[in-house]
């Protein structure tokens, strides 16, 4: 991770120029005390950057002389496939500005006058506001970790969940469909070993076939040699069973969320 960050750091002076041009230039005076506080709560924690940026699992930040635009980009977007998450949806724009200013300062870098602020956080905040109270509650139920099995065990929305079931952003399914749905795409699969299960075909190549096994949640993506599996026309699989642990009131809220998702 450290090596990867270093290589990004070397490219940094050139890479984010476009990004900066796209952002509104606000001359927010980032609050130093606020930046230190956010850093303590979000960055120095765990095995990450350590107290005051002295290094934990993540790289040391003190003395690295980072440029503001580089720190802003990395803090906003994270570094893909490392432990560094993007903070643009986790922090408010002012918080992002404050913590970035703090990191630049402890790294020994110089803060430019009128440091650019993070527009992405603001955009996210606007998008979130548009969701009704019902839809927000429905979203919480859709992703409700306490339940173990929840809607997102089989459906992905807003970048989270397993995309086994239909894309719910593309089409709206109401409560009736969720209770009584009997999708024709689910077929009973049979293997030579005698295993029989409700299935959804995901991908076929000349040699192999990838199939979701829907016997029990979570769906299992199984790969077979082509021709190894036979299908019968229908299946007794019903969506109603998958949502039986949601009450009618909860289903109403989930419907509100699905309506929102399908219209965005």
């Amino acid at each position: 991770m450290k090596q990867r960050l270093s290589s990004v750091a070397r490219r940094a002076p050139f890479a984010p120029t476009v990004l900066i041009l796209l952002l509104p230039l606000l001359s927010l005076a980032a609050d130093p005390a606020e930046g230190a506080k956010i850093f303590r709560q979000s960055c120095s924690v765990g095995y990450c950057h350590g107290s005051g940026g002295t290094a934990g699992r993540a790289p040391k930040l003190i003395g690295r002389v980072y440029q503001h635009e580089f720190v802003m980009k990395v803090t906003r977007d994270g570094i893909p496939n490392t432990g560094m998450p993007g903070w643009k949806e986790r922090l408010k724009p002012a918080e992002l500005d404050a913590v970035v200013a703090y990191v630049v300062r402890i790294s020994g870098g110089v803060l430019p006058a009128g440091a650019p602020a993070s527009a992405a956080g603001a955009a996210t905040a606007v998008a979130a506001v548009e969701m009704s109270k019902e839809a927000q509650l429905g979203k919480a139920l859709f992703f409700d970790a306490v339940r173990g099995t929840r809607c997102s065990t089989c459906h992905a929305l807003e970048g989270m969940g397993t995309p086994a079931g239909p894309n719910l952003a593309a089409a709206f399914y109401d409560g009736k469909a969720m209770r009584e749905g009997k999708p024709a795409t689910v077929r009973q699969a049979r293997t030579p070993g005698g295993d029989s299960f409700p299935s959804l075909v995901v991908e076929q190549t000349d040699a192999t076939m990838k199939i979701y096994d829907l016997t029990l949640p979570p769906p299992v993506l199984r790969t077979f040699v082509k021709g190894q599996v036979s299908f019968s026309g229908g299946s007794d699989w019903r969506h109603a069973k998958s949502v039986s642990h949601y009450s009618d009131a909860e289903m109403g809220l989930i419907e509100a969320y699905l309506r929102w998702a399908a219209s965005h």
Partner: protein, 547 residues
């Protein structure tokens, strides 16, 4: 002929010794008992000086180092790498047979660092947990994926899988990280052939379940309790033993008042149902991040003259607990480090005495550091010497508790810390031979840096491990004297294994520096920042003519 010779050499030692490995290294901990002890003795204290490198296998996946325990079955070695590549390699020659590359999604955050500590093998398949919290089954002969199941979306839970699965009968059991995130931990069992989920054990009981009352308010929802190391198994009792990690927030406990079951506990589960048979909580209401997370070593030894089925667990706080593995009853406890200030000790029932807790708004020096009185790298137990061989680290930290609210799937730590040297001298590591019941130290091998590789012991009277500077070394199991070493070119954070192919014994070690605690080490020893990364397996044997 060679084969016969090896068997003769080994046979006198292995009869009556369950839990040791022989030609194969079939499970993460060697065997289900997690002894990490091999009955092979072709390489021994009298000839180890002649030990020679036979092959090196470069995985090419260097970011994150190599923390794996290679498995060896019938002359084939299976290696998982930091980013979930799996290799099958000829264990005698090091030649690649197949490679599987797990399709990691692009652009996601890897929580708890890119690491894979191993695989499980059976039913003609290789099983692995992944950095994005899936479990996959791979065809053992071809390296093709057979099934792939999402345990839970890692972007939501802030968790993933780095430990090797435990395969027992038709069940692939898998734990999860997430103990420093706002997350509720679990252990899952999947059907080995189809990947269908068979049972789930929540490490934090839900409302209405016994133990939920040990969490104030809604704190149970985000209370941590990860299961980030591989469990053990007793076939006679049909019980699987797993360690449950710390509660979250790690250093701030006021919002989760109570004992916080089953965090910092060893849990014994029925393999067929996942139901709890017994538990023993080492650290009620942990506020130090001292994880009861490591391996459970299953020993059969007499205590006060009575033969007992025991379970030995070293925790991150540097304290060892020994329990009866039939009932969970506390048998013995002792520290493995000198610098231990978070408790004064334990009473006759194993209850903590003299808790010294972090405080809000006030820095306090506590030992050991969050990196652990020992890290997760495993100890070995030799039925031959009847000693436990474990690494340990002398270091401390200045820690302050900070109130924090949980946000699902995000870091939930509740404090800040800075690693510091102990009062009585520079921080350092050691590898000790201990009596497993009393903790009496028979010898101690001192190391400048923390030792972060697992320990392997053999019937050849040898103890193997590696250091951060890249040396893979052999110690005399009786005296601790260093007998042999080999510079592998990168530091050690994995687990070495012993095996045999066509009568020739090998010892193999991963090398490749990279770890969650690397930053802690950098802050005490700045020069370690320059230590080279890597990811390779090195195999050693005696020269053909020397045997």
């Amino acid at each position: 002929m060679r084969h016969a010779l090896l068997l003769v050499l080994a046979s006198s030692a292995i009869w009556g010794q369950p839990g040791v490995t022989r030609e194969n290294w079939p499970h993460y901990g060697g065997t289900y008992q997690s002894l990490r002890h091999s009955a092979l003795n072709q390489i021994n204290a009298s000839n180890v000086k002649k030990l020679t490198p036979v092959w090196t296998f470069q995985t090419g996946d260097t970011d994150g180092g190599l923390q794996s325990t290679p498995l060896v079955i019938d002359g084939v070695m299976y290696i998982s790498t930091a980013h979930n590549w799996v290799y099958a390699v000829n264990a005698a020659t090091g030649r690649q047979i197949w490679k599987y590359t797990y399709p990691l999604p692009k652009g996601f955050t890897i929580f708890y660092g890119p690491h894979s500590r191993g695989v499980a093998i059976g039913h003609g398949m290789v099983y692995m947990g992944t950095l994005d919290n899936h479990v996959v089954a791979i065809d053992q002969k071809t390296g093709r994926e057979v099934w792939n199941v999402t345990v839970e979306d890692s972007t939501q839970c802030g968790c993933n899988i780095t430990a090797a699965p435990l395969l027992v009968k038709d069940k692939v059991m898998v734990g999860v990280t997430g103990g420093d995130s706002a997350h509720r931990g679990y252990i899952n069992a999947f059907d080995a052939r189809s990947g269908r989920k068979l049972w789930q054990f929540w490490t934090i009981p839900g409302p209405g379940e016994k133990g939920n009352e040990t969490w104030s308010g809604d704190s149970w929802k985000y209370g941590g309790g990860s299961t980030w190391m591989t469990g053990s198994y007793d076939a006679e009792l049909n019980l699987t033993y797993w360690s449950v990690g710390n509660p979250a927030a790690d250093f701030y406990g006021a919002s989760r008042m109570g004992d916080n079951l089953y965090t910092d506990s060893v849990v014994a589960l029925d393999v067929d149902t996942g139901k709890l048979k017994w538990y023993f909580q080492q650290i009620p209401h942990d506020v130090w991040d001292f994880d009861t997370a490591y391996e459970n070593i299953l020993l059969d030894l007499p205590v006060n003259g009575t033969p007992r089925k025991l379970l030995l667990n070293v925790n991150k706080g540097g304290f060892t607990f020994v329990n009866d593995r039939v009932t969970g009853e506390f048998v013995a406890g002792y520290p493995i480090v000198k610098n231990i200030t978070w408790i004064k000790g334990v009473d006759a029932k194993g209850k903590l005495v003299g808790r010294n807790e972090p405080e809000v708004g006030k820095s306090k020096t506590l030992c050991p550091s969050i990196g652990g009185g020992r890290s997760w790298n495993q100890a070995s137990y030799s039925p031959r010497t009847k000693w436990l061989y474990t690494t340990a680290i002398e270091w401390c930290q200045d820690v302050t508790s900070v109130p924090e609210e949980p946000k699902e799937g995000q870091v939930f730590f509740g404090g800040v810390f800075q690693v510091v040297h102990p009062k009585d001298g520079p921080a350092h590591g050691h590898l000790d031979a201990l009596d497993p019941i009393t903790g009496k130290v028979h010898w101690s091998y001192k190391s400048k840096y923390p030792l972060l590789a697992s320990v392997l012991s053999t019937d050849g009277g040898l103890v193997f491990s590696g250091d951060p500077e890249g040396d893979f070394f052999a110690l005399d199991a009786k005296s601790g004297q260093r007998l042999w070493s080999y510079q592998t070119g990168s530091g050690h954070r994995g687990s070495s294994v012993a095996y045999a192919v066509n009568g020739r014994q090998f010892v193999a070690t991963p090398s490749g520096w990279g770890s969650a605690v690397m930053g802690l080490i950098n802050s005490l020893w700045p020069e370690t920042e320059r230590f080279q990364g890597g990811s390779a397996v090195h195999a050693f044997a005696l020269p053909e003519e020397g045997r």
